[in-house]
Symmetry: C2
Subunit: 193 residues, 2 copies
């Protein structure tokens, strides 16, 4: 039971919610989890195959029905145990790479205008995502699955909401600072080390 790439747990976790096919998995990631996790087909299908081979998942064939044939995967008791063990393991920090911050760090007097553009783009993204979180949270609160699932789901949304609010505030302030800098004659002299 060697340690596996995160994809395996991410796939196993999803089929633990309810049985689904590789195609369903992809849809679920793209529609519901896209803001904190994503997977590609190139990873999903091999992962499902391996999970089945090791007895963590089992599949049943669903023939005919709309679209081609489907292979619907569900988690086994052994898989449930394996998932639970992973959930209890400490969270491994994922490598951070924030391109916007890197560009800001490298920017000089001549780069202020494009940086402001980037910030304005980030602001739009954050604001529209904020709307999405608003809508989704109220939907979840009504929908009402079991209390644990509901709470867990709401906590992930709350993280998204707070982080977008924080982003909006930071961006607004950053744009202000950069506008000040643009009109400040002192900053114009690029060689004022």
């Amino acid at each position: 039971m060697a340690k596996k790439a995160k994809t395996h747990y991410a796939v196993l976790g999803l089929i633990s919610l309810f049985p689904m096919s590789g195609y369903d998995l992809k849809k679920f990631y793209d529609r519901s989890l896209r803001f904190f996790w994503s997977e590609s087909f190139g990873q999903i299908y091999p992962a499902l195959k391996m999970l089945e081979e090791e007895g963590f998942a089992e599949s049943q064939h669903e023939s005919g029905a709309r679209g081609g044939d489907r292979k619907v995967f569900s988690i086994t008791p052994k898989g449930q145990e394996y998932l639970r063990d992973w959930l209890a393991e400490p969270v491994e920090p994922n490598p951070v790479r924030n391109e916007l911050l890197l560009k800001i760090f490298f920017a000089r007097a001549g780069d202020i205008k494009p940086i402001i553009d980037h910030l304005e783009a980030a602001l739009e993204v954050a604001e529209s995502r904020l709307e999405f979180y608003q809508a989704t949270s109220s939907a979840i609160e009504k929908e009402n699955p079991n209390p644990v699932m509901r709470t867990m789901h709401l906590l992930t949304l709350d993280y998204g909401r707070r982080s977008m609010e924080m982003t909006v505030e930071w961006v607004r302030n950053a744009i202000e600072e950069l506008e000040k800098l643009k009109t400040n004659p002192e900053a114009k002299k690029e060689n004022s080390q």
Copy 2:
């Protein structure tokens, strides 16, 4: 001038600040940028080689002096132009993978305790990083390089500070919610779908 992996810009950007060796580059990433960017030697040295081959960087050999021989790289005018072009290009979204949120999403009644542990660990990290940002910002404000560089540097720190503050608040609330759930008898019935 085909598009390159981000590493190339990340390396070029650093040597645009002041000439340095591959080893210096690594130190700089590990010490100053580690919270929003990182690079490994396995990427740095090949990147420097390629940047030099294409005329974006040039090196001079520094023999003897403490440690083995050094190859100190500096940016060329052509490299400066190339970097500036990249800074102006829209920021590409980097794939998000937040393992903590994923674990929360998959957690069931039996997993609440380990999840709280993860949150407590995250709280510690956020709080200690907050202290670091505090200390660094005041150092930067005194240090006073040119006004543009100072502002850029402070903006990246401000992002870190705000995002850690946000994390602390979210985590505190999340722990509270989960503690409530633990003592709530309704939640104990895992099959209350």
